[in-house]
């Protein structure tokens, strides 16, 4: 048992922290808010060279095949920095999905590029009026000889304009399927959407888009179980992202509380604020532990890993939201201005809580696992 990072993990942490400090300082984060591309080529290059973009790619495809714990370490740093870019979507979700289920040809075509930073692949999952469950996928694929014709609308697709392929979830007579779709191809229309977190996301409209059977990832009917399993695991590093954000937001707030004076003493000398920060600190400790616990369980292949990953995402995002809410309150008026950093964390925290399964969806997963066992 070891409830701290070991030396190797510390090395990964320090490396990613250095990369983010160099290539994703907060002025870059600000500059990239609402940006149509949504990431910095310099950061992409640095992450690729460090093997981070290949973190979930098997070594035979040029990846670094990090452990889940290491991926959590990476994401905690990305979260601390709020590093802009679709790294989770492409290098974890898409990479794991392809590695899990695509044909070797498809894997050969895309995984090395994801790892070396020359390719971006992102999922196109959610739809307006649809839930984040299997029943939420209304986009239909009509079977035609040699493939499908897809029509419908996807929403919240990260960095779609610079993606090389989208992993589109769609319904067929056999059930949900997943196909690689070129966002620059015919019939695909992208419209940038703006969000609370000022991240880069698109509405993607597919109008009679042809996908060949070779573009399918997994068999029709298996799409949801593949996607659900992939996202279910990826919740662990995502939780670590929230932990990193919460930890940094807490540091910013504590620093401010130590120096800013009111009524002749530092804010942190007011017991009500000091106690609120103590609660936040405790929650951040807990969130960190449960995120790494989930990652560790995934690394061990433990049967409770899926439940733990959902618990970690639930708890870490709630912590991130709570800590940034307290942060805003303690910063006071300046926290409401764009000039201060706490608002960057505050806005991202709530969006992250809603994204990639919201609290009720996570709770349902946890309860299903707990009560049907």
């Amino acid at each position: 048992m070891e409830t701290q990072l070991n030396a190797d993990q510390v090395a990964v942490r320090d490396m990613v922290r250095r990369i983010c400090a160099d290539a994703a300082p907060l002025d870059r984060v600000r500059a990239l808010e609402d940006d149509p591309v949504g990431y910095d080529p310099e950061l992409r290059k640095a992450l690729a060279e460090a093997g981070i973009l290949g973190m979930a790619v098997p070594e035979r495809f040029g990846g670094s095949a990090l452990t889940w714990t290491e991926m959590a370490v990476v994401h905690a740093e990305l979260g601390r920095a709020l590093a802009p870019g679709p790294w989770f979507a492409s290098s974890v979700l898409a990479a794991r999905l392809l590695a899990r289920t695509a044909t070797t040809d498809v894997q050969r075509a895309w995984l090395p590029g994801i790892a070396d930073g020359s390719r971006l692949v992102v999922p196109a999952w959610l739809e307006p009026g649809g839930s984040a469950r299997a029943t939420g996928i209304a986009l239909r694929g009509e079977k035609v000889p040699g493939g499908y014709r897809l029509s419908g609308l996807k929403r919240h697709v990260p960095c779609a304009s610079s993606a090389d392929r989208l992993l589109v979830l769609f319904g067929t007579d056999a059930g949900t399927a997943i196909a690689l779709v070129d966002p620059a191809g015919p019939g695909v229309d992208l419209e940038q959407a703006f969000s609370l977190a000022s991240d880069t996301q698109y509405d993607v409209r597919l109008d009679d888009v042809h996908v060949a059977d070779d573009d399918l990832v997994g068999r029709p009917g298996e799409g949801w179980s593949h996607w659900s399993a992939t996202l279910g695991e990826a919740l662990a590093p995502l939780a670590a992202y929230a932990v990193g954000g919460a930890e940094r937001a807490l540091e910013l707030t504590v620093d401010y509380a130590r120096t800013r004076e009111q009524f002749g003493k530092p804010l942190g000398a007011f017991q009500a604020l000091a106690h609120e920060l103590a609660d936040c600190a405790t929650e951040v400790s807990g969130a960190e532990l449960i995120a790494y616990r989930a990652a560790d369980a995934l690394d061990r292949g433990a049967p409770e890993a899926g439940r733990l990953a959902a618990m970690a995402k639930l708890y870490a995002c709630e912590t991130f939201r709570h800590v940034t809410r307290s942060g805003e309150q303690i910063f006071g008026g300046v926290g409401f201005t764009l000039e201060f950093d706490i608002q960057l964390y505050f806005r991202r925290a709530k969006q992250l809580e809603l994204s990639w399964w919201s609290p009720p969806e996570l709770e349902d997963r946890i309860a299903d696992d707990l009560l049907t066992a």
């Binding site: 609402d34 959610l126 307006p128 009026g129 649809g130 839930s131 984040a132 469950r133 029943t135 939420g136 209304a138 929403r155 919240h156 959407a193 703006f194 969000s195 609370l196 977190a197 000022s198 509405d203 004076e261 009111q262 009524f263 002749g264 007011f270 017991q271 009500a272 604020l273 939201r321 809410r325 805003e328 309150q329 006071g332 008026g333 926290g335 409401f336 201005t337 764009l338 000039e339 608002q343 505050f346 806005r347 709530k350 969006q351 809603l354 994204s355 919201s358 609290p359 009720p360």
Partner: protein, 401 residues
């Protein structure tokens, strides 16, 4: 115990609603401006306020001597709540804290110069209390006023003067006596276009697109103000400010916008579907909504109690309802944040889309509300300041800060 407005007030409320229906104008009424909807920062909004003035709805509580109608405060409450509910500009600081302070403490000259203009909606004020080093602790104000001839010379900096870039006059506190923290502040009226005044924008998380709303820093550089524009007595400014704050705490935080947001959410739950299933059938959603409407009613009632108590104190000459106002402000603004958070959750992931996005649940209102309500528990006295007031003045606990 009686929680219904009297018949003539209900009739007045109806009259107000008819008037507002007749004067509907999306340039004047815009709920998506959330907390900023109350300010009179555009020509259209100023023009609308003039119509309210013509109707005789400004300064209804003022003495007849100064053009008022000596009506009870409930008339202003009804009018402002109706305006706030529609995202319209409020009758505001002029007839409120500034007009009332001038009425109570101002010289004859100030009354004659300002009160008629206020009633005619010909003048907008900006209020300058906060300073970079004086946030919750208003009495620690440092902007300096030094005696010079028949007046004072003001030098220093203010922050959070939201109306500075469009107001006509600055209602500003300055330190006239450095030796007494609480008895050393004086209130001045300064024309906003004084050459010694510089206004610099501070862009906030508010607005659509985000960052479109502003507040301001105001720099006063060697600004001479004649004694004629001193409000009331020298060194008594902090007392005037505190008295007026009891009022502001209440009127700056109308319940109308909260109610409007709740209606938006209830309407969403009532009508939206997810995966073809009505949202209203989800048990978790129903229960959370039931709690929200309950807490909203509590917030509204705490506000009604301030109204009732303040009318009683006006009538009987008692103390203003300070702790009642603090309880309302504390509860309503925290509820407002819970409501914002719940609106995000109950609307689902689509609520992350920015306000105005047509396909977003509630047209993105959850998002803008989540951003804006941050300031509710800070401005007009933070939640911590309200709790200090309640614990000391209502509960009689010792000072704990």
């Amino acid at each position: 115990m009686d929680f219904e407005l009297d018949d003539e007030i209900v009739a007045f409320a109806r009259e107000v609603e008819e008037f507002l229906d007749a004067h509907h104008d999306p340039d004047v009424f815009d709920v998506t401006r959330e907390n900023m909807a109350q300010i009179v920062d555009t020509p259209a909004r100023r023009a609308f306020l003039k119509k309210l003035a013509e109707r005789g709805w400004l300064g209804m509580t003022w003495p007849r001597e100064w053009g008022g109608q000596e009506r009870p405060g409930v008339y202003e409450y009804v009018l402002n709540e109706a305006l706030a509910h529609r995202g319209g500009p409020q009758t505001g600081k002029g007839v409120g804290i500034i007009g009332k302070t001038i009425l109570a403490h101002g010289s004859e000259r100030l009354k004659r110069e300002f009160l008629p203009k206020i009633l005619a909606a010909e003048i907008e004020f900006a209020v300058g209390y906060s300073e970079p080093e004086a946030g919750s602790d208003a009495a620690s104000m440092r902007l300096r006023a030094v005696r010079d001839g028949d007046g004072w010379r003001l030098d220093g900096q203010k922050v959070w003067t939201t109306s500075a870039h469009f107001a006509d006059w600055y209602w500003v506190g300055a330190r006239t006596n450095p030796d007494s923290k609480h008895h050393g502040i004086t209130l001045f009226l300064v024309p906003m276009d004084h050459p010694g005044i510089t206004v610099k924008p501070i862009w906030t998380m508010g607005g659509a697109p985000m960052g479109a709303e502003r507040t301001n820093e105001v720099y006063l550089d060697d600004v001479w103000v004649s004694d004629d524009y001193v409000v009331g007595e020298v060194d008594k400014g902090f007392q005037y400010i505190s008295q007026a704050l009891d009022l502001e705490r209440f009127s700056m935080f109308t319940f109308g916008p909260i109610d409007e947001r709740l209606e938006t959410l209830v309407e969403h739950v009532r009508t939206a579907t997810v995966d073809g299933v009505p949202v209203r059938e989800d048990s978790g959603t129903r229960r959370r909504l039931a709690r929200l409407v309950t807490e909203a009613e509590v917030a509204r009632l705490l506000g009604l109690r301030v109204l009732d108590a303040s009318m009683r104190s006006e009538r009987d000459g008692g103390a203003p309802p300070t702790t009642e106002a603090s309880e309302y402000k504390l509860y309503a603004t925290q509820f407002s944040q819970r409501l914002a958070d719940a609106s995000m959750d109950l609307g689902g992931p689509g609520t992350q889309l920015r306000v105005g996005t047509g396909s977003a649940p509630m047209r993105g209102r959850a998002e803008s509300t989540y951003r804006y309500t941050v300031i509710d528990t800070i401005g007009g006295g933070t939640s911590q300041v309200q709790r200090n007031i309640i614990s000391r003045r209502r509960l009689g606990l010792p000072r704990s800060f």
